[in-house]
């Protein structure tokens, strides 16, 4: 069997190894490329002090998972036009990972080593979003960017800039409100808006929107101007000219309000009495228990932090510092305020009732006058209401029979106006007697419509400014530590190189293994063990393989037959006979050297050699050389060797079929004799 030569096997299969490796590597590259996915990630940090305690600026628990809330993702889908994606499919691809710095990790380890509880509220997070190969890295980047944009705004709206501003008066003129009610709603809305705007001014006095060019101060001043000029102008016209859509409805509405205020006032009275009783009892008990025996010289022994802290020293906040007694006093104060406000609001309603029920003088023939809405009239009405309330309060009759006062009020009103025409009518005095009433009503309606439209426009400015403010607050409260970066999850190049090396090793090993197996098989089944050359079976296969091929030029067939092999065996013994055969085999391999030669021992002392890429003369010369070597052999010198050599070559004999070439060589065999070599006698 051939010796194990690594290079021989590799050399034999090198082109194939190269091609297979190349094809497989390309396949691996294609496979990994098709499986590639991308992750866009960014690092955000919550800057507010409360975040370190795991809280939002409002004091609620900070929940970073809101970044992937369906509300935010739905907005992202809408803004990016990703209607083909479901909210859940996007949510499932968002990952939020907390970042704990090295110092904090050391603290954690130290506390855990000491067996203490470790609580940490991270403020830095990595937010990532993954996309597949078809979607690409750009998709991941845009989606994550949009998610962060929406979250920053949402965070600001929810936890920082949460004083909402609403426009509840849009289209109010087309609804079934009376004029005075419309104006009250408009006024309240403006009042709330101004209050919310000044709240924002207080937080960020220098904020100015780049979209509208306005600050909240500018907007507040515009609302104030509208309120002081247009709203009060409309109010005064409505009151002065008693403008109403339905006087009866208006009067019943305001009477109902008065009734509610009176009930609330009576309820507050009861609560006040209860709170006062509790206060007295509380002080009494505190006195009896000795808790009030503290002098100004009393000083606590320890030094205390101003803030409340937990066991680890983390600040928990200011905490509730109000004592029970203070709470009771505040409760008394609140109920008293509520009661007093109810009385004043009730007075306002009476003032409206008075204005719309009053006769201008036209009904009694004293000419068309105007309604008195002066300050003196207000004072008179308030004093009247306060005096009535106090009287009723003293008699403790409000809470028991709240409707009685209303009836009394209506009766008084009727008694005062019974003689006038307007008091019996469903219309106000101005509506009955003022010839310009219709024109004035129409003018008021137009002005209300124009005011609402103006407020709508202003609200749009406000909305735009506020939207930008939310974005600004979002970026102020959450900072970006690292811009959105997109990475490939599969390192295709690295894996391809690894695969190429792997395939090279596997293919090489395979080639060696196959080569070696081939050696073994050939040795067992296709090698003549005595000569080490291919045997007859191998040669039959060879002939079969080349049967239908047209041979190239330069292929030679050499047949060598030892004609006296039987005689040698008989005279010199079988061992010498075998030696002769082995000598022939060895010499053939020597003389043909590295030429592409197929050596066969066909049995019966016959050798066949098929030499490729050669010519007739070369083979003849080589065989001549063989004969010379044989004649000077060092083994089997004692025996005479008779042999025949036949040489045929494709070009020389114009035969291009292997079997014919073989036959030709056999037919051209010439006899040769190699004489025994006499050994010198020493």
């Amino acid at each position: 069997m051939k010796s194990f030569q690594l290079s021989r096997y590799i050399k034999k299969w090198l082109p194939l190894i190269f091609v297979v490796c190349l094809v497989l590597t390309i396949g691996v590259y294609w496979f990994f490329s098709s499986k590639q996915n991308y992750t866009a990630s960014a690092v955000i940090h919550f800057d507010s002090e409360s975040a370190q305690q795991g809280l939002t600026p409002l004091g609620t628990e900070l929940n970073v998972n809101e970044i992937k809330s369906s509300a935010i993702i739905a907005k992202v889908i809408s803004n990016l036009g990703l209607e083909d994606y479901s909210v859940d499919s996007i949510i499932s691809r968002v990952q939020i990972t907390e970042v704990i710095d090295a110092d904090e990790l050391s603290r954690k380890e130290a506390l855990l080593e000491e067996g203490q509880e470790y609580i940490y509220k991270p403020t830095t997070f990595i937010v990532s979003f993954s996309s597949n190969n078809n979607e690409g890295g750009q998709f991941a980047r845009s989606v994550l960017d949009e998610i962060l944009d929406q979250y920053f705004t949402e965070y600001s709206e929810k936890y920082v800039n949460n004083a909402s501003i609403i426009n509840a008066i849009s289209g109010i003129q087309n609804k079934n409100f009376d004029y005075i009610e419309m104006m009250e709603l408009i006024d309240t809305n403006i009042e709330n808006t101004i209050s919310a705007l000044y709240n924002r001014v207080g937080n960020d006095p220098n904020f100015r929107s780049t979209a509208t060019g306005m600050s909240f101060n500018d907007l507040a001043r515009q609302y104030e101007f509208i309120q002081s000029v247009e709203v009060s102008g409309l109010f005064s016209d409505i009151l002065e000219h008693q403008i109403t859509k339905n006087k009866t409805l208006l009067i019943s509405d305001y009477n109902e309000r008065i009734s509610k205020y009176e009930i609330n006032s009576a309820v507050d009275d009861e609560k006040i009495a209860d709170v006062l009783a509790i206060i007295d009892d509380y002080v009494l008990k505190m006195r009896e228990s000795g808790n009030t025996n503290i002098t100004y010289e009393y000083i606590l022994d320890d030094v205390y932090d101003k803030e409340r802290v937990d066991e680890q020293g983390l600040v928990l906040g200011d905490g509730e510092q109000t004592v029970t007694y203070d709470k009771l006093i505040y409760s008394w104060r609140d109920h008293m305020n509520s009661k007093e406000y109810a009385i004043i609001d009730s007075a306002y309603c009476n003032y409206i009732l008075h204005i719309f029920g009053e006769c201008t003088g036209a009904c009694t023939g004293s000419g068309v006058g105007s309604i008195d809405i002066s300050l003196e009239e207000v004072d008179r009405v308030i004093d009247e209401v306060v005096s009535d309330t106090n009287t009723l309060g003293d008699n403790e009759s409000i809470s028991e029979e709240p409707t009685e006062s209303m009836e009394t009020s209506e009766e008084t009103s009727l008694q005062q106006n019974i003689v006038t025409e307007c008091s019996l009518s469903d219309l106000t005095c101005s509506a009955l007697n003022d010839p310009d009433y219709a024109v004035i009503v129409s003018d008021v309606e137009q002005r209300i419509a124009s005011l609402v439209s103006e407020l709508d426009n202003l609200y749009r400015y406000l909305e735009e400014t506020d939207a930008e403010y939310n974005e600004y607050l979002g970026a102020s409260n959450i900072s970006t530590l690292s811009t959105v970066a997109v990475t490939e999850n599969v390192n295709v190049q690295l894996y391809t190189v690894i695969a190429a090396i792997f395939f090279l090793i596997v293919c090489t090993c395979g080639a060696v293994l196959i080569g070696r197996i081939n050696d073994i098989v050939r040795y067992i089944f296709y090698t003549d063990h005595m000569t080490g050359l291919n045997n007859r079976t191998a040669f039959d296969n060879y002939l079969k393989q080349h049967d239908h091929r047209i041979l190239d030029n330069g292929i030679a067939c050499v047949t060598v037959t030892i004609t006296n092999q039987v005689t040698i065996n008989r005279r010199n013994g079988r061992e010498v006979g075998d030696k002769v055969l082995q000598l022939f085999a060895e010499q053939f391999q020597t003389v043909f050297g590295k030429m592409e030669t197929y050596f066969v021992y066909n049995g019966n002392a016959q050798f066949i050699l098929v030499v490729e890429k050669t010519d007739y003369a070369t083979v003849c010369q080589i065989m001549e050389h063989f004969r010379l070597i044989l004649d000077r052999r060092e083994e089997a010198q004692e025996c005479e060797i008779l042999y025949e050599i036949g040489i045929s070559e494709t070009t020389q004999h114009e035969i291009y079929n292997i079997r014919k070439l073989l036959s030709k060589a056999v037919s051209l065999q010439q006899k040769y004799v190699s004489e025994p070599i006499e050994q010198e006698v020493i």
Partner: protein, 462 residues
Amino acid sequence: MTISLVIKLFVVLILVILAAALILSYVKLKDCSLQRMKRIVFQQFHWTFWTIPVTIIFAVSFMLMYASAAGNTASAVITLNYSEASSGQNSNQTRFNMSDIISNDVLELAIEKGALEGVTVADLKKALSVAPTVQGNSYNPDGYHISTEFAIYYFATPQTKHLDAHQLLDLITDSYKQFYIERYADNFQKLNMEFSPETQFSEMDYLDIVAYLEQQCYLIEDYMYSLAQASPSFVSSNGDTFASLAEKCHQIADVQLANNIKSYLLYNSISKDPDGYISRLNYDNSLIEYERRKTLASYEISNEAVRMYSEEMAKIVLVPTWDADGDYYMGRTKVGIDELSVEAQEYSEWTADYTKALESNNAIVASLKKASSGGSNETVDQMIQDVCRSLEDISKLAKTAGQEYSEKRMNNCIFSSIHTNSIFRGFVYTFVFAFAFFVALNLLSVVKRISMNIGWYLSEKK
């Protein structure tokens, strides 16, 4: 197909030919020594004729593909120059979103500006991508990076093939600059003040006009003060500082409007509609009075609460603690009367404010009651016109100063540069590749020739 892909393709082709030649030569001449192998190769190396037309075909193919790819790809870099960019913010301190660079608004603007035909925003989006030129590593704190330079890549698609890549990127970068300035740069639109008193104020009473002009004064004044806070030392080309402009506005509001016109109106009882104005003020007063009564009631209630606070419960305890500077001091326990007293004082102030408002309105009412009749007043009209002109002038100065400051601060905010593939570079590539291909091809040819005559070489070896 991109240029890099074309280049890669042709490099691979050359490498394959070279590899084939080398492998073939190795297989055929594996038994020769290296020296002999060299000798054989150099002996046989002479240019083969057929390689010349093949190389020409190769060069032409490469040039065509390169030219096609060069027309289909381009890139641009957008650099953010303002200070907030390093915090990942826009110049108005909102979050910077790089996707804005190729947002629908920007692409629509680009299509409109370039009058591009046969292409939609969606088509352009498919052909464009944006990425930071240097991107950080989110998973390593040392690798955190806020990008301020972003590259736009354009790869033509069948829908955008007819567009010129260079021109398209030029349009997109221009559109983004415009979009950015409109959305994120300082907006001085509100300082465009132009008044036409005859028509604009015809329906308004004089005192309302004064209030309106005061409001405009405060608008400019506020704007200028906010800019003065940001840059107190900035001086415009007109020689104004923001503070000086704000002061000028204040003077108009204080001297020209409040002192001159308003005083003149009240002193001379001038109003376009005195009765209407009095009626309005009366209504205002009635509302103010209700509010004043409420604050007065709250004031009295808070006072009453302080009075009824039990002496025994008002005793305090001294608490040793430290202040914000870390110095020890004696704190004391807080009791309800502290808060109630503060509250009472606040209510008292509000009540005083309401009383003041009432008095002011009453003074106006008293003045207007003396008015003989309504209508316009030429002197007042002239005074208002003068104030309007002053305001218009100062608003122009304010706008100029603001714009100059904004430009300086933002350092032109965005800088863009476009990278395209030059024809010269294409020629260089073609020449280099053609030469390499020619050599590889000839090498292959030599090896083939050697392999055909291997018998001869081997016999020569012997």
